[in-house]
């Protein structure tokens, strides 16, 4: 770990004043400190934002709002979340471990970095960490890598479970920077790697995530998050599916489907949703999840697995009715 300056401002304005250049906000630190130890992230200044009043979950006219510093475990256990958006609650509770969830914030979760082993090992090339140095994952150890939204520059997955659930629910993030405030749909927040895998999102230098907004969706009470991995806990997804269905009289009226662990960004599947709305079979609809998939030597199974995760979620939701 490199030496750094440390500050702990009391309010948002103070944090924004300090931010910029080679600074990093510190929330739970479960990504930041980890990557600083590995020297993947080497900020000269660390700004602890934990004193900022960005906590809590509350209902507003535009939907349910989460403070960016709300802890994962608290958010998952919040009755409004568990009752009205089980997909969010489940995505959070299937993440990491209780200790980590008690430390880690929602904002930090959305901004966590990829788990690609080359990205995390500074002795290897990696276009995301060191632009232009190459992508060893293309022909190397890539069982955990993405099949959707990849480029020849980078095939790393976005690791967040929460983001998959939020993208399915049309959530937005509220951002505050020196130039003021703006709201960005989460689906537009993340950038596919293209030729610039080091640019992962539209957050500007020194900009702070202040809130997450989830619009009302009454039938999201019938939602589920299926996470598939080699071991039963304490592991990122090989594939996951966030699914909500509006079921009436045994018929799908509407559906939301997104997958994780397979895309370079949280991957919404409008084609699958449309097929379900059109009354196609679960199998026929899920098959559309494979559209545009580009498997690598080690991860071809993910194309099938993502579809199976969707089918499993749909089956669970159908059973619950």
């Amino acid at each position: 770990m490199r030496a750094f300056d440390f500050a702990a401002p009391h309010d948002v304005a103070g944090a924004l004043d300090l931010a910029g250049g080679s600074s990093a906000f510190l929330a739970g630190g479960t990504t930041l400190v980890d990557l600083m130890k590995l020297e993947v992230m080497t900020p000269e200044q660390v700004i602890d934002i934990n004193r900022l009043p960005l906590r809590g979950v509350r209902q507003e006219p535009d939907g349910l709002r989460f403070g960016a510093l709300e802890r994962m475990e608290d958010a998952a256990r919040h009755p409004d979340v568990a009752g009205r958006y089980p997909v969010i609650s489940q995505a959070l509770l299937l993440s990491a471990s209780p200790q980590l969830r008690n430390m880690a914030s929602l904002g930090g979760n959305l901004l966590q970095r990829t788990r690609c082993g080359y990205f995390r090992d500074v002795t290897t090339p990696c276009n995301k960490r060191a632009p232009g140095s190459g992508c060893p994952a293309l022909h190397g150890d890539n069982r955990g890598h993405a099949v959707l939204g990849t480029s020849d520059s980078c095939v790393a997955t976005h690791p967040s479970d929460l983001a998959v659930a939020l993208v399915a629910l049309d959530a937005s993030v509220r951002l505050r920077g020196a130039d003021g405030e703006r709201t960005v749909p989460l689906a537009d927040f993340y950038l596919r790697p293209g030729d610039t895998p080091h640019q992962e999102n539209v957050l500007r230098l020194g900009e702070l995530v202040t809130e997450i907004v989830v619009p009302d969706l009454p039938w999201a009470a019938n939602s589920a998050y299926v996470k598939v991995r080699d071991r039963q806990s304490y592991e990122f997804a090989l594939a996951s599916a966030a699914v909500a269905v509006d079921l009436r009289d045994g018929r799908v009226r509407d559906a939301r489907v997104a997958v994780g662990g397979v895309g370079t960004v949280p991957w919404r599947l409008p084609a699958v949703e449309a097929a379900l709305r059109a009354g196609e079979s679960h199998e026929a609809a899920a098959a559309l999840a494979a559209e545009g998939a580009r498997p690598l030597a080690g991860n071809a199974f993910k194309v099938t697995l993502a579809q199976r995760a969707i089918l499993r979620a749909l089956a669970e939701l159908a059973e619950r009715r």
Partner: protein, 725 residues
């Protein structure tokens, strides 16, 4: 016969409270901190290293590299260790090889400075693919390339197979694995005059003394290794690794103590790993299921840096009765970190293939797999023909089948489901060789009424120190709490190091002999010492007291009365030299596995192991040992896979986050049943070993249950969901 005890660990409180000092917990005055530098290519030559910036960095004391080496010599005996001495040449033999040591005033300063060192290599393409190497596999440089037994009149193993009514042939492969013990390897070295005292994580302080005396060209008498607590080893702390002699050599030249702790990532490469293996197994049987021929051609990877490989086919010669047996060994040499022993080396991988193949044969015969094993259970060692010293495997099978509900196993694969989960049952036979090595132990009775039991043994978390306490307490008739086990100090008598599941079987008899000797010495003292109240009497000993029929006195009081702080005796128990019997432990695993019908995840949901390992000294700790082996076996079956990148020779997942071992959620309740028949031909104690036994057969049992659940036979470990989709 002693009764079976179930004692808490004598070292439990100090471990739980954090008071136990592991190697890295020692901080002698003036301590400096070492940080290892490792190579980032797998094969080639180190051309140059730029250490200027590191040398100028705050707190840095010295930077050692092959261009500014420390004086370290090669080990003479290998024992799964690396053959080339670190920093003595510029050759790169594997990715992650030690190429330097930075020493600084603090750990952080050493680590920061290490990040400033740059290296230039002339890199070659490494040999890194086991699969590609299989075609060119060669007989090993050490060990017999093949063993064969043929029945009278049979010309070859292939002839025997051809003459069988039913045969199966299949190839089973296993990946590289690594031990990932909780405690990372650490060494703290201090010199006083020409004498070295070293705290280092090791499975045997005696082994460490030997290796260090070679590496530092010293008289072993001038080296003392102290290491009473070990945070797991699983074979990986048997050998001595590069950081240990480097740390000692640095402390010698710098004239101050030095500590080096490997980082979690370095624990994947600087120390060894379990080789990859491939076994092609053919089984031939008559129509009634009697085995006619067993053939196993085994191949193991071997690091170019040493010669250790797994003789993975050999287990097929020691298990089931068959008149015709053949096992061969070949190796594929790779430019990878050192290959070394890991829990049940050869046997756990060997059993995965053999136990899977037995089930495949049972399928081909249309027989219950348990019946097939029963039918071919051996009463003598199949090769030597010697009778087993004490084998009750059939009872393990019978008891296990009944307890587990084996009769409810679906006869047809894929027939049983519970909601979205396909349910299957499987079983596998456990076995491991039993030994009794020579061991010396000292027992010291103290005037405070306590007893110290000393020997160079190691407790890796196994419960060995509690075994010492129980056995000494039993002989001396005192409460276990009054015994102080004193392990892990090379200044004590030479006992058995922790390897080959031989600790209790070797050290146990020695502890009893030494306790008896101390008791006899006490009786003699009581009768012969002039100031003794029992002088000239017929003295007896019972329950911690000496007496003459009338009066009795606790031994501590007697010693105090005589002005003696203590009285001790050392005894040696010889190695087992029996030529008349074959010695092995046995057991049977039964498990239930569920596989998700949509997403293919295999999950183990029930487990029972019935164990025939001779006398069980401490039922509680023994159960933990068996459970630990089963957990590791489940990891081997479903998760563990140290992936070597074919192009670079780098381990692709050499971090604790990416190298998967089971977490609690992966482990079902595990039931363990001990038969507890003393093996009196092995020793009067009758204890064999249990450290490795239970990983053997476990992966096969899981694979067989997966097949029973799904109809899919996975012959390539680990059985991950992608193989079941």
């Amino acid at each position: 016969m002693m009764s079976v005890r179930s004692a808490n660990r004598e070292d439990g409180p100090v471990k739980v409270s954090g008071a136990a000092a592991y190697a890295a917990d020692h901080h002698p005055d003036g301590l400096a901190y070492g940080y290892l530098l490792t190579s980032t290519v797998a094969r080639g030559t180190l051309l140059a290293m730029d250490t200027a910036a590191a040398e100028r960095a705050p707190g840095v004391i010295a930077v050692y590299t092959p261009f500014n080496p420390l004086d370290v010599r090669p080990f003479l005996k290998e024992g799964g260790a690396e053959l080339a001495a670190p920093l003595q040449d510029t050759r790169i033999r594997y990715h992650g090889q030690a190429v330097g040591l930075v020493v600084a005033e603090t750990f952080e300063q050493a680590r920061d400075a290490a990040a400033l060192v740059t290296a230039r290599y002339d890199a070659d393409r490494p040999r890194a693919s086991f699969a590609d190497g299989l075609a060119g596999a060669e007989p090993p440089a050490t060990g017999a390339p093949a063993q064969e037994v043929l029945a009278d009149g049979v010309a070859s193993i292939d002839e025997a197979l051809a003459a069988s009514d039913v045969t199966i042939t299949a190839t089973y492969t296993t990946p590289a694995e690594t031990h990932v013990a909780m405690e990372p390897h650490a060494t703290v070295a201090s010199w006083t005059g020409g004498r070295l005292t070293i705290h280092t994580a090791t499975q045997g302080v005696r082994l460490a003394v030997e290796r260090l005396s070679e590496a530092l060209a010293m008289d072993p008498a001038d080296i003392r290794v102290i290491n009473p607590y070990v945070g797991g080893g699983f074979g990986n702390k048997w050998a001595t690794w590069a950081h240990t002699p480097l740390t000692a050599a640095a402390a010698r030249v710098l004239g101050r103590p030095v500590k080096t702790v490997l980082t979690r990532e370095q624990v994947f490469t600087v120390v060894g790993h379990r080789p990859l293996t491939s076994q092609t197994v053919s089984l031939g049987a008559s129509a009634d299921g009697t085995l006619v021929a067993v053939r196993n051609d085994g191949v193991s990877s071997r690091s170019a840096s040493n010669s250790f490989y797994e003789a993975v086919a050999d287990l097929s010669l020691s298990m089931y009765d068959a008149p015709n047996l053949h096992a061969s060994r070949k190796v594929v040499t790779l430019d990878v970190p050192v290959t070394t022993i890991m829990r049940a080396p050869s046997e756990s991988n060997g059993s995965f293939a053999l136990e899977s193949a037995m089930d495949e044969l049972a399928d081909a015969l249309g027989m219950d797999p348990l019946d097939l094993r029963r039918k071919n259970d051996s009463s003598r060692h199949p090769v030597s023909g010697l009778p087993w010293s004490s084998k009750h495997l059939d009872e393990c099978y019978t008891l296990g089948a009944e307890r587990f509900g084996w009769s409810r196993r679906g006869r047809v694969p894929g027939a049983v489901a519970d909601g979205d989960w396909l349910v299957g049952m499987g079983m596998g036979t456990a076995t491991f060789g039993a030994f009794r090595s020579e061991a010396s132990i000292n027992v010291r009775l103290r005037d405070d009424g306590r007893v110290v039991v000393s020997g160079t043994a190691a407790d890796l978390g196994t419960g060995q120190s509690t075994v010492f306490a129980i056995l000494a307490a039993d002989v001396l008739g005192i409460p276990v709490e009054r015994v102080i086990p004193d392990l892990g100090d090379s200044a004590t008598p030479p006992a058995v190091s922790a390897g080959g599941s031989g600790s209790t079987s070797g050290n146990g008899p020695a502890v009893r002999l030494a306790a008896q000797a101390a008791r006899d010495a006490l009786v003699k003292l009581a009768a012969e010492h002039e100031k003794s109240p029992f002088h000239g009497q017929e003295v007896t000993y019972a329950g911690g007291e000496v007496g003459d029929g009338g009066r009795a006195m606790p031994f501590g009081e007697l010693l105090a009365l005589l002005g003696l702080p203590d009285l001790d005796a050392t005894a040696t128990s010889p190695r087992n030299a029996s030529q008349s019997h074959a010695f092995r432990s046995f057991g049977a695993h039964f498990c239930e596995v569920r596989v998700n019908r949509w997403t293919g995840e295999p999950r183990v949901t029930r487990w029972l192991s019935v164990v025939d390992a001779g006398t069980i000294v401490n039922a509680k700790a023994a159960r933990s040992q068996i459970v630990g082996g089963v957990v590791m076996g489940i990891g081997q079956a479903l998760l563990e896979d140290l992936r070597i990148e074919p192009g670079t020779g780098r381990f692709g997942n050499a971090t604790m986050a990416d190298y998967l071992v089971p977490v609690n959620a992966d482990i079902p309740p595990i039931e363990v049943e001990f038969l507890n028949y003393p093996d009196t031909l092995l020793s009067d104690l009758g204890a064999r070993g249990i450290g490795e036994l239970s990983i053997v057969g476990a992966a096969g049992a899981v694979a067989n249950a997966v097949h029973n659940a799904t109809g899919r036979r996975v012959r390539d470990l680990p059985i991950t969901l992608d193989k079941l989709l």
